[in-house]
């Protein structure tokens, strides 16, 4: 044993130094406590500063939006332009609600199959292509949404001669959703324990069967959660659709019609000269926020319940 380690006699610093250490530490103790209390208090102040505008925003949104959304005509009528004769004739936003739903559905249809497959590929491959795609998806996920609008404009509206349509808008949103779905699918698939894969392989299943029959079902909760969050993000985006959907004043679900969208109506009404439209805009914002919260919360609750069920 003694050849492993040369134990020295335990040492202590000298008496004088011990006394000095005690003295210095004692002298500054009160100051350090005070400093700690102040800094901790400042952190609490920061929390308060964060909360105030955010809670105020939510409060004003509900306070001003609720009276608007309680009228059934808000959901059923098309928008009207107020006039001097009827300054309060705002109509409803049925076209924007329908438009937002249509846009997200088309976008989801385009983005989900590709996104999930790429996610699975990234999670289970080490190839150069995978490494490259990983960087691309991370970068695209943070790209400013206005750029998706520029892309859809140049490519769909102009190059493909599709014009200002729901299709162009949903293409822009699909490009926005893709990297989010890719990343969350990759994380979900990677999260599947290797033991499950090994068990499948040990039973003699082919790797691609293991991937489809064992890994994907195990990861489905995470994948769906990612998809819902991608949709909730896309539905609130203004910039990409602003450039390409045409802002149609009709109720339409057809891909080649111009449509409107909730965020677009908010943007336009907010800038309006008419006070009645600027009142209505809070209702539109409330509907949009409720949409987003419901999607986001249901994804959360579903995911956590699934997790508990395991």
């Amino acid at each position: 044993m003694s050849d492993i380690i040369e134990l020295q006699h335990p040492q202590q610093v000298g008496h004088e130094m011990r006394a000095e250490i005690r003295r210095i530490s004692e002298r500054g103790r009160g100051r350090r406590q005070l400093r700690s209390r102040i800094m901790v208090a400042l952190c609490s102040v920061a929390l308060a500063i964060t909360s105030v505008p955010l809670l105020l925003l939510l409060y004003q949104l509900f306070q001003r939006g609720l009276p608007v959304v309680l009228h059934p005509s808000f959901y059923t009528q098309l928008p009207q332009t107020p006039s001097l004769v009827a300054p309060n004739a705002t109509g409803g936003v049925s076209n924007a609600i329908l438009g937002s739903l249509v846009l997200s559905v088309y976008a989801a249809v385009m983005a989900i199959p590709v996104g999930v497959m790429v996610g699975v590929y990234l999670a289970e491959s080490d190839s150069k292509l995978a490494a490259m795609l990983r960087i691309i998806s991370q970068t695209m996920a943070g790209a400013p949404s206005i750029l998706m609008g520029l892309f859809a404009f140049s490519f769909v509206v102009r190059a493909l001669h599709v014009g200002y349509t729901a299709l162009a808008g949903s293409f822009a949103l699909a490009v926005l959703m893709l990297p989010v779905i890719v990343i969350s699918s990759e994380i979900a698939v990677r999260g599947v324990p290797n033991t499950l894969r090994e068990a499948g392989l040990a039973l003699g299943a082919k790797p691609h069967k293991v991937s489809m029959r064992i890994v994907l079902p195990a990861a489905v909760t995470g994948i769906v959660t990612g998809i819902i969050l991608a949709i909730s993000r896309a539905i609130g985006e203004t910039a990409p659709v602003l450039l390409v959907i045409g802002g149609g004043y009709i109720n339409s679900w057809k891909p080649l019609d111009p449509v409107s969208a909730l965020p677009l109506s908010i943007y336009e009404n907010a800038k309006s000269q008419w006070p009645s439209l600027r009142t209505q805009v809070w209702g539109i914002a409330l509907v949009l926020v409720v949409f987003v919260f419901v999607l986001s919360l249901s994804a959360r609750i579903w995911a956590s319940r699934k997790q508990q069920a395991r």
């Binding site: 400093r35 952190c43 920061a46 955010l54 491959s125 206005i146 969350s184 790797p207």
Partner: protein
């Protein structure tokens, strides 16, 4: 990130995951499920090629559409002051300056306050409220930016005009920093910075909270056992350990602030006027594209595309830096 790669990845977040946890190494044989040449393999590869093509097309299309400007007027776009629709010249200085001014001021506000907030959430709030507050913050990160813009435009702008601007101008040097537009403008670069700060706060808090949370508990206990005060634990142990990840969160927030479009379009005032007085209206690259695009024709569209290229370069640069930092943080945590 707010989504850990643990379990089955079902922890949910509205913030794009940063993926702080070290990745599981896959089983050797399984590294190549796709190497067996089945239809499944080709399907996955095909999807990946579609995705790559879309991404490349994304960059290439915008670049291509902006080529006329880069070929003949690149100097004007990068340094020119005026923007004359529809014929030009198209000077981008005001937008570039506005983007940098607003997002840097917003970032400064958001980082200082957001860091304090994250620390409070992780260390000061009783555990049973912690998840509620954290969920609330993440929900707020999911609120569409147009709603923040709306609030800034209809609530904050009048308040700035009537209350804040006159108060600010009472201070010495206010004229030099803020300018004194009198009762003229409610929308301004300052308001845009404030709204941006409020907007990126939830994002920054959500990410930095996560980065701080993964600092191992036993490091905190070790420092407490050495007689450290609460603040010393935070200052000397938690923040240094989380430092790199916090920088990652900062750059991500900056990337988000620079790319923000409609909120800034509503509250910045929408004037292409290169100046540094914060109480005067201005604009940013993204906001300018959004406000001008509807009326633009021919060369102006190309000029707006060129602004888009600038924004893309700025944004990609920032997110590359942020990802590099997060990777470094992951390695640091792997060592702990």
């Amino acid at each position: 990130m707010t989504e850990r790669a643990t379990g089955d990845g079902t922890e949910v977040s509205d913030v794009i995951p940063l993926d702080l946890q070290p990745h599981d190494e896959l089983v050797g044989e399984f590294n190549s499920p796709t190497s067996s040449r089945t239809w499944y393999h080709y399907l996955l590869i095909a999807a990946s090629i579609v995705f790559a093509a879309v991404s490349v097309g994304f960059v290439a299309t915008i670049l291509w559409s902006s080529l006329p400007i880069w070929a003949h007027h690149s100097g004007t776009l990068l340094g020119g002051k005026g923007w004359q629709s529809p014929t030009g010249p198209f000077g981008g200085l005001a937008m570039i300056a506005g983007t940098l001014e607003t997002s840097i001021i917003a970032l400064a506000i958001a980082v200082v306050i957001g860091l304090g907030t994250s620390i409070s959430i992780v260390f000061l709030i009783p555990r049973r409220f912690r998840n509620i507050v954290a969920t609330l913050v993440e929900l707020l990160a999911a609120v569409p930016s147009i709603v923040y813009g709306l609030w800034g435009f209809l609530v904050l702008a009048p308040w700035m005009l009537n209350t804040v601007n006159p108060w600010l101008n009472k201070w010495p040097f206010a004229k030099e920093i803020f300018g004194n537009p009198g009762q003229q403008f409610g929308t301004s670069l300052l308001l845009a910075s404030i709204v941006l700060a409020v907007m990126i706060l939830p994002t920054f808090v959500a990410i930095s909270r996560e980065v701080i949370t993964v600092v191992p508990q036993d490091l905190i206990e070790a420092s407490l056992s050495l007689g450290a005060t609460r603040w010393q634990v935070i200052r000397e142990v938690v923040l240094p350990t989380a430092k790199v990840g916090l920088f990652g969160a900062t750059f991500l927030a900056l990337a988000r602030a620079t790319g923000e479009t409609v909120a800034v379009a509503l509250v910045a005032g929408g004037v292409a006027n290169a100046q540094f007085h914060l109480l005067y209206p201005g604009t940013s690259i993204a906001a300018w594209i959004a406000t001008q695009f509807g009326e633009a024709q021919g060369n102006e569209i190309a000029a707006l595309m060129a602004l888009g290229v600038l924004l893309m370069v700025l944004n990609f640069g920032l997110s590359l830096i942020s990802r590099w930092l997060v990777n470094r943080q992951r390695r640091i945590l792997a060592v702990v």
